[in-house]
Symmetry: C2
Subunit: 247 residues, 2 copies
């Protein structure tokens, strides 16, 4: 087991060359008071704090999955690509969200920085030790995983059976809800990811995403504001478009 006594007991040995260690073992931001992440919070001192520039790779699909991560600031994308360039995005972890270590041996997806990001990283063993010490920590880790599994399974229905307009509406609503959870205005969505990322998350093309969003605008369901902001003008309408899958 690693040294736990010092305030800054983090290792740098395994940090990939393209990463930069930004901070000492400071406590993670408490911006999202998600109870599910508490276990991780308590391990704040054992975390390595890393930052990645826009579009840098945090880890590759196929790499040994020995670490667990938490986003401090910025947005990450979890993605996977075929040789001929088709890409699927599984999710966009944001501040407070956990990701990584999603398989026994190797990562199933890559993780990349959508924006400049700051993340905390723990070795798998650190988490395992914490669970061994504190049974309650095990429950909380299980909760986190159950939530991620539920999210992935909802995503299956979207990709397998929903039409383009339902997919886009569902995406907009999920973004709005994320805003609400973070105490922001739920009526004004900051997308935070480009059209290509949205398309690859929804299993569509950029053209279809663009057309669908403009169709929503023309119907008066949303309007476009400064920057990448989308304003929800008719939430019930948007929910109807999402087909009752607004979660």
């Amino acid at each position: 087991m690693q040294a736990l006594s010092t305030n800054t007991g983090f290792d740098t040995a395994r940090v990939p060359a393209f990463t930069t260690i930004v901070a000492r073992g400071a406590a993670p931001r408490a911006d999202t008071g998600q109870n599910a992440a508490r276990t991780i919070d308590e391990l704040g001192r054992e975390a390595t704090r890393l930052s990645f520039g826009r579009n840098r790779v945090i880890y590759f699909e196929g790499d040994p999955a020995d670490y667990y991560y938490r986003v401090v600031s910025g947005t990450v994308r979890l993605c996977k690509e075929t040789e001929d360039g088709r890409r699927q995005i599984a999710g966009f972890p944001g501040p407070g969200d956990l990701f990584g270590w999603a398989g026994s041996r190797h990562n199933v997806y890559s993780a990349e920085a959508v924006t400049d990001v700051v993340i905390l990283r723990w070795h798998r063993r650190t988490i395992e030790d914490a669970i061994a010490r504190d049974p309650d920590a095990g429950h909380r880790m299980l909760s986190v995983l159950f939530e991620q599994l539920a999210e992935a399974q909802n995503h299956l229905l979207l990709l397998g059976r929903m039409h383009a307009d339902e997919r886009v509406a569902t995406f907009l609503l999920s973004r709005a809800e994320r805003n609400a959870r973070n105490g922001l205005d739920a009526g004004r969505i900051l997308l935070g990811v480009c059209r290509k990322d949205i398309a690859d998350y929804l299993g569509l093309t950029v053209e279809t995403v663009s057309r669908t969003m403009h169709a929503f605008k023309n119907r008066g369901v949303v309007s476009f504001a400064a920057g990448e902001a989308v304003k929800i003008c008719d939430r019930p309408g948007l929910e109807r478009l999402a087909g009752g899958l607004a979660n």
Copy 2:
């Protein structure tokens, strides 16, 4: 906490009317020696043994998710439906596989019996108690979940970005591998589920599944045998069709 001292300490109070309690707290079949399920095995005595006839519902999407299940025999489907009848299947748990309790509060998917099935059921609290007693049990539960999450994430790429022939080829190979894990002939696939279930798992229609499988047959990649059996004649060919996603 429930009584643990008796050999047959299972409750019947919450068994839905359409289920039948078949057996006493007998040890589960050790047919699949998957280490990941060991935790559950050790709890065999606390399990309720249930059986369901073909197409009966084990639990509904939206029901409180208080139970965890293990398949003893038969095949289960995890599925979700829109009001207008579109259906997505997330997976087909078979002997030895765990399912259920996949969200904090409520089930995200329904579970139904594809064939006649026998399953073991534990209350969530039983699992939580086991984890509290035995830290190693927590790791094993986490492993199970990580595996399920990885499976779901692979399924995302299939549904979001793969063509019909790639989907079908991937499905056939995954069935073959399951056979191999269970000690059966990996060259002879017993589908065990009807075309509609395959279609809803792959995000296609029955017609497309049928056409694609026959196209494989005409190319000499597979051949059809008695019953629902499919014989793999050209495994490298099938793997090429799957597009390197044969897992």
